[in-house]
Amino acid sequence: ADDVKLQLKWVTQAQFAGYYVALEKGFYEAEDLNVTILPGGPDIAPPQVMAGGGADVMVDWLPSALAAREKGLPIVNIAQPFKSSGMMLTCLKETGVSTPADLKGKTLGVWFGGNEYPFLSWMNTLGLKTDGTDVTVLKQGFNVDPLLQKQAACISTMTYNEYWQVIDAGIKPEELVTFKYEDQGVATLEDGLYVLEANLADPAFEDKMVRFVRASMKGWKYAEANPDEAAMIVLDNDETGAQTETHQKRMMGEVAKLTAGSNGTLDPVDFDRTVKTLMGGGSDPVISAEPVGAWTHQITDKALN
């Protein structure tokens, strides 16, 4: 069997259910692959791991991948299991926010590390300065405490994760206002599969990836169809023992909505929209030039047809 190491963007959770399902259900084995899944976390930059040879393929968000490309690490999107973006800004109604215009003068929690560009782009379109004059920006940690402690009026959340933590903490959905980046027209592509450009020239590697993507998409579609089973598989693979069943089942349900529209093939329209968003991100854009060759259908064409 061929060895494949997959680096995830975040810790083991239902966000990556497709890969764990493919592993546990033997889809990888059926393709004669021996797959190792490496969980990520806030201190892990997947492109760096790839550059160091620690992984063959990674799950990453497009902004971060494009930034890496500009910094001299040629990585290429080979598949895009997530059709839509799950990122949004979640606000407490009691702070007086109900429309984007109300954001002026508020304190907002934002994820940095490459994930701030949709936000900056959005603020740019709203005409709000982020240097503290119009809105005050905080680098948000990994949980939803700033909202609960009222240190920020709004925080970044994922539809499938942090939003539900706010709900679980005891705040009712009707007390919240959410702005999906998808709806604001500044969504960026999340959770694609990326490899090093140089490797793609190697037919053996290409073949391995074809089989990998095929098995992974099979896993994703199985997870969409059997969300509860998929969630339990994720739970079994969580080594920290920190996840709960309810949370993962609910997350799987939400993730399924995001993967629903994709068979794994990247839609160039989505790609172009992401690039537009990133380049409109105000004074310090994440990428300075239109990227070339940052995605390919080479793998998905072979895998899915």
Binding site: Q48, A51, A68, L138
Partner: protein, 282 residues
């Protein structure tokens, strides 16, 4: 490859030169500055040579020349971050933490009961890993530098306390006996004997605390911060694979830390001039 070999060769030559200089002219002031400088340059040359020679990817480890260029280009950013993290976060936390520790040590010094109770508990608290405390303190004290100062206070308090308590006990029996024969009051013995005798120990703690203060302030920013600060910059730049900027910030941290340490060591030299460890090298 030529780069790597060249660097290793340079390393060997520089080490030989240093050894020779130290043996021959070790006492001269200039040589005492030159040797560590050459050592540092050697490390940098070795680094540059190996990175180039072994074609290490710039997103894993950039070469010093690249870092220097980024450093020069990012001076305003580096300065803002320096002010936020070091001057506001680390320094204020250091002063509060060390001050509180010294006062506490003197207060509990009179009570063996409190010492026996507090020190073990204090050691326990000191062992709490910063990565666990930082998010909690950010939650309590907010995102700005106040929470960073709080982390620094927690980090420096116990090392300084433990050293100060040990220092207050460090008088020798003869010196204490003298105070006893003069029937010195507690306060007199404290001011005239025990505080001076404690200084070498106190400075030990204060020196350790300088590096802790820096690390604490920077790391706390990983867990939430305004959009400036060295820890903020490092964590976001890693996400953007802007490794040269990361290393430029690290260089600032190392420079500031060494300067901070050096300043405390200088004060120490003035205050504890009488201690054998200082007398040896005048």
């Amino acid at each position: 490859m030529i780069w790597a070999f060249g660097a290793v060769l340079f390393w060997l030559l520089a080490m030989a030169l240093n050894t020779w200089l130290a043996a021959r002219h070790g006492a001269s002031r200039a040589v005492q500055l030159f040797i560590p400088a050459l050592f540092g340059i050697t490390l940098l040359v070795l680094w540059e040579g190996l990175v180039r020679g072994l074609a290490v990817s710039p997103v894993i480890l950039p070469a010093p020349s690249v870092i220097a260029a980024r450093f020069a280009g990012a001076l305003p950013i580096l300065w803002t971050d320096f002010v936020q993290t070091i001057l506001k976060g680390a320094l204020s936390g250091y002063l509060i933490g060390c001050g509180a520790a010294i006062v506490t040590a003197i207060v509990i010094d009179r009570s063996p009961f409190l010492q026996r109770g507090l020190l073990p508990v204090g050691n326990f608290v000191a062992a709490l890993p910063i990565v666990g405390i930082a998010p909690i303190l950010v939650m309590w004290f907010g995102f700005d530098w106040h929470s960073k100062a709080a982390v620094v206070v927690v980090m420096v308090f116990f090392p300084v306390l433990v050293n100060m308590v040990a220092g207050l006990k460090a008088t020798d029996a003869l010196q204490r006996d003298q105070m006893a024969t003069w029937s010195a009051s507690y306060g007199q013995a404290l001011v005239k004997l025990r505080l001076p005798a404690a200084m070498p120990f106190l400075f030990n703690g204060l020196k350790i605390a300088t590096t802790l203060a820096l690390i604490g302030a920077i790391v706390a920013e990983f867990f939430g911060s305004p959009t400036r600060g060295m820890g903020f910059r490092i964590s976001t730049a890693v996400g953007q694979l802007d490794l040269p900027l990361v290393w430029a910030e690290i260089a600032v941290a190392a420079l500031a830390g060494s300067a901070f340490y050096g300043a405390v060591a200088l004060i120490e030299r003035g205050v504890t001039f009488w201690h054998p460890s200082q007398r040896g090298r005048s």
